[in-house]
């Protein structure tokens, strides 16, 4: 059973059409939840770390939120340059320092 599940697998938006990506997780003790952006053939780019339920972080058109079971990445008025795969990862207290990733959501924003 996957510990980190991201949905949807793929999302197509019109420029300016806001939406949310979901990351649900099942871990015994969450040290942190991480969001990354990955462009094709490139390494993941760090976006946010969230540590406790209720926490929120923002960066430009992106806002990440965290509950005890899931995290959302809200994208407000997206632009074509926001097109990428968005990866969610969790780090557990019992699992040391490894990041456990979901499969990602592939986002395409069309003009």
């Amino acid at each position: 059973e996957d510990q980190v599940t991201q949905s949807p697998e793929a999302l197509r938006l019109q420029e300016g059409e806001s939406s949310s990506l979901n990351c649900s997780y099942t871990v015994s003790g969450l040290r942190g939840l991480f969001w990354y952006r990955q462009d094709p053939g490139k390494g993941p780019e760090f976006l946010f770390t969230l540590y406790s339920a209720g926490e929120e972080k923002e960066k430009e058109r992106l806002k990440a939120t965290l509950t005890k079971k899931e995290s959302f990445l809200h994208i407000t008025a997206p632009k074509p340059e926001d097109s990428a795969t968005y990866l969610c990862a969790v780090q557990e207290f019992d699992s040391g320092y490894a990041l456990n990733f979901g499969k990602g959501t592939s986002l395409l924003v069309t003009p």
Binding site: G32, G41, P44, Y97, A98, N100, K103
Partner: protein, 113 residues
Amino acid sequence: DAGVTQSPTHLIKTRGQQVTLRCSPKSGHDTVSWYQQALGQGPQFIFQYYEEEERQRGNFPDRFSGHQFPNYSSELNVNALLLGDSALYLCASSSRTVTYEQYFGPGTRLTVT
């Protein structure tokens, strides 16, 4: 401020051969982790090096080994390559003071034929 660098960018090897990938961490970082990312999948943790020792290992066979040097740079070695080892290999660095935030390099694309 130099970020994480990896070399080479691309590599093509034949089944059964051995390969070495290299990583230099972000300035100020002393911990290096390696991940394998298959096409369409999220990265999978291979191992982490700190103070020149393997601190944690994921579910990968002994064919995968590594090393960390006194300047914190690291190598990933894979022996007896299999076709299934074809993937993007990612290096991530972090600081012992903020160990949980890992910053990734551009990756090395390994193709095994």
